[in-house]
Symmetry: C2
Subunit: 310 residues, 2 copies
């Protein structure tokens, strides 16, 4: 049961020869999602071995070009390859107008539907849900309306401890009730609490994408306990005035967010092209939050299952 983030792009607005504009791919139980879609994303998907047709939905944080210019080529290519399955795109307004212009000028014959779902960037709400995953918007503070995303694997159903079935002579109806989380009502009038009868095979995993944004304690609070946090760190601490002015974070602020969120690990990215070596930014973040690393393009970050012992 995979839960894997693959970094496709990690530059800030001006790409460099080594770093591409923003895009992450998320694989949750072999269902694929894109988070932002900077220029060139379709080819970088191919290069990491994810067929672009596998993408179910795209989550766009905000409508700056470096987060969205790759979506138009992706939309066209999926059409050329004969896609019929709708593609869901979660993005703030006026993505509806932009999409309409794109379809008018470039893709009037598209053989599948691009279904826009509005992201209301000031609201923390459930955007998407399937059997195993929930995706929530996380309001951010940028120069234009922007939202981060929290991807939360659902907790799996409760399993019944085998020895409990024998000990309490549980029938089918008892088992069904206990699996739903109810306590066991016995014929003798006694009650056995659910947690003595069941266990969760593992805890649902989570990934949060917070970019582009000023440091926001509120956003950090909303991703409390996240296993893996991606937080933009466009600037070094010495450029924090510039960070504030442009609506971005420093590496130190990204680490502060990870601390506040009690994140498991932190990946920083969206680096300004002014820093020739991002180790400076990693070092600054690690002073506060040691489990930090710099986004590495083409690399996949697996979040292992937290198996619950009992």
């Amino acid at each position: 049961m995979t839960f894997r983030v693959t970094i496709l792009g990690s530059s800030s607005a001006s790409p460099t020869p080594r770093r591409n504009p923003a895009a992450h791919a998320l694989n949750v139980h072999e269902q694929f999602f894109l988070i932002d879609c900077g220029e060139g994303t379709q080819q970088r998907l191919m290069r990491v071995g994810i067929h672009p047709q596998k993408i179910n939905a795209v989550f766009v944080s905000h409508l700056h070009g470096d987060h969205v210019y790759g979506l138009f080529g992706l939309i066209s290519t999926l059409g050329l390859q004969g896609r019929r399955t709708p593609l869901a795109v979660y993005a703030p307004r006026p993505f509806d107008d932009i999409l309409e212009a794109h379809l008018r000028y470039f893709d009037s014959q598209l053989p599948y539907e691009v279904q826009w779902h509005e992201v209301e960037t000031r609201k923390h709400q459930l955007l998407y849900e399937n059997k195993v995953l929930e995706v929530y918007s996380i309001p951010l503070r940028h120069r234009v309306p922007a939202a981060g995303f929290l991807f939360r694997e659902k907790n799996p159903p409760l399993n019944i401890r085998k020895e409990a079935i024998e000990r309490y002579d549980m029938g089918i109806a008892d088992c069904a009730a206990v699996k739903r989380g109810e306590d066991l009502q016995r014929a003798d009038g006694s009650t056995i609490p659910n947690d003595r009868l069941t266990y969760r095979p593992y805890q649902g995993r989570s990934y949060a994408y917070l970019s582009d944004t000023l440091y926001s304690p509120k956003a950090a609070g909303l991703v409390q306990g996240v296993d893996l946090l991606y937080h933009e760190a466009t600037f070094a601490d010495s450029d924090k005035a510039l960070a504030r002015q442009t609506g971005h974070s420093t590496a130190r602020q990204a680490a502060t967010a990870a601390l506040k969120a009690e994140a498991g690990r932190l990946i920083i990215g969206h680096f300004s092209s002014r820093y020739k070596d991002e180790q400076l930014l990693v070092d600054e973040a690690r002073q506060l939050f040691p489990a930090t690393e710099a986004a590495e393009e083409g690399k996949s970050y697996d979040i292992p299952l937290h198996k619950i012992s009992f």
Copy 2:
């Protein structure tokens, strides 16, 4: 005095992990031009060592996404980097509407002007001229209005043969007239023909870009004598019905165009992703036109000076 074509992208509409969408860079005497601008062109410029700010003008053959999606990221990045110099874009209608939509949604604060010049795709006409270069449109036959481009280095001024100055005792006024191409009128009433007095240090060089198009003898005729011809060769001969249906050429047709144009060399590209090895297409073209090679991305093709001996 450079005259150099660098291939940045050579895929057809669906890019592959190895081939990028259409874009060529042209360096004529250290002035830089882009021909088509598929997704990712700005980074591929950087990778071949051409600073995107050096681009003077962009020539767009037609408004299919694989030839133009990279222009929007390039426009944005040039602005972010503080460009003040206008950028000329030669493109068919409705590029004006597309540009207006782009600026409205993504680049309303652009610090420089994008100057659109209409390419009337049914006309063969001079689009651009500077001291050393002329660019002509070449009508093509595609599913949407499309034009190729002929880049023609101007012939350099005539030089006077040193021995002629002494032999005919030429004064300053004589020299000026002869350099303009006039014959020498001598005091004794005799006339010396200009070609006995002058020579051209070299012949202006030329490059033609014909993509996307059906085989067009008319287009081939309009690039007569071109030193280097890039012609699309989307399909193999066995798929020529598909080529016709989609408004594209086979490798054999590209070679036919090169033969008809009496081109010096032929580069083929815009390969359909169905061919795993483009050598098949090169082999087909070479049967008719041996001086054919497959476009190689990142490679530069220098056209050497034809020095004229006398």
